[in-house]
């Protein structure tokens, strides 16, 4: 159970411009909701997604690589996994 630093500001939990709750959802739904959140965001904004399916640990980086967006933070709290993505393009 490791906790890693998220975006910059130590201590304070950063809040994404768009927050996606994908807890309780299974593959492929977290990615579907993440993609919907990313569509709502403007370029440069941060989308935050939290999931409880541990597949997200691999799927989030894979999705970021495929869609060429940037992961700027990751936080693991027990079985809750949160990722922050910066939208790099439309």
């Amino acid at each position: 159970m490791t906790t890693e630093e998220a975006t910059g500001t130590a201590g304070a939990r950063p809040r994404g411009d768009i927050v996606v709750d994908a807890t309780g959802l299974l593959c492929p739904m977290p990615i579907v909701h993440l993609a919907q959140g990313m569509r709502q965001a403007r370029v440069g904004q941060v989308v935050e997604v939290t999931a409880t399916d541990m597949g997200i640990l691999e799927d989030a980086p894979a999705w970021a690589a495929t869609t060429r967006h940037e992961i700027v933070g990751r936080l693991i709290e027990g079985d809750r996994y949160t990722f922050w993505f910066r939208k790099l393009h439309d």
């Binding site: 959802l25 299974l26 492929p28 990615i31 495929t66 869609t67």
Partner: protein, 197 residues
């Protein structure tokens, strides 16, 4: 949707080959039509949904919806038993001859009625599996179908197997096209991931 184009970066990757093509093609020797220049592939998926088994179809939709969520073009080509998925639940059970009518009764189709590959137990298996999936909030096949359509996944019905199974356009849900192998191959040639399920 992304359409493959001859963008300058791709051609610049292999200028010698591009040049060689332009030199040899006009001379007209060898097989001219069979081997055109390499198609420009883009990230994207085609899936031949041959199976009408609930579990296999579920996997097909997972991949389709996942790829669509990554902004990739996706084509799902439904053929043979896969046509059950896109058959209207209230489709006619009258075929144009007795054999096809018998077929329609044996395989009424509909995304809600798909059997499991294993542990089907005359329909009990899928019901139990559905309950388990419900506990995990997993979308059902009809929900996945709607989701895929809302994400512009291209749904293609195979006309040849429609004929074999005695299905008409009226028996199917609204699809993007009714087509054959050439349509599938055109998309498959342009995509990097091509699956047969």
């Amino acid at each position: 949707m992304t359409t493959p184009t001859l963008d300058p970066t791709t051609t610049a990757d292999r200028p010698a080959q591009a040049h060689a093509d332009s030199v040899t093609t006009p001379s007209g020797e060898g097989q001219p039509a069979l081997e055109p220049r390499e198609p420009e592939t883009v990230p994207g998926v085609t899936i031949v949904v041959f199976s009408g088994d609930f579990d296999r179809v579920q996997a097909a939709f997972n991949i389709a919806v996942g790829a669509a969520s990554s902004g990739q073009p996706v084509t799902m080509f439904f053929t043979f038993w896969g046509l059950d998925v896109i058959t209207r639940p209230n489709a006619s059970r009258i075929g144009r001859d007795p054999l096809r009518t018998a077929f329609r009764w044996m395989k009424p189709g509909g995304a809600r009625r798909l059997p499991l590959t294993r542990f089907n137990f005359f329909g009990l298996g899928p019901k139990l599996m559905g309950r388990l999936m419900g506990e995990f909030k997993m979308p059902t096949v009809p929900e996945m179908l709607d989701l895929a359509r809302s994400m512009n996944v291209k749904i293609v019905a195979c006309t040849i197997t429609m004929g074999v199974m005695g299905l008409t356009k009226d028996d199917l849900i609204d699809v993007d096209s009714y087509a054959g192998v050439a349509t599938y191959l055109k998309d498959a040639n342009e995509r990097r991931v091509n699956l047969f399920i």
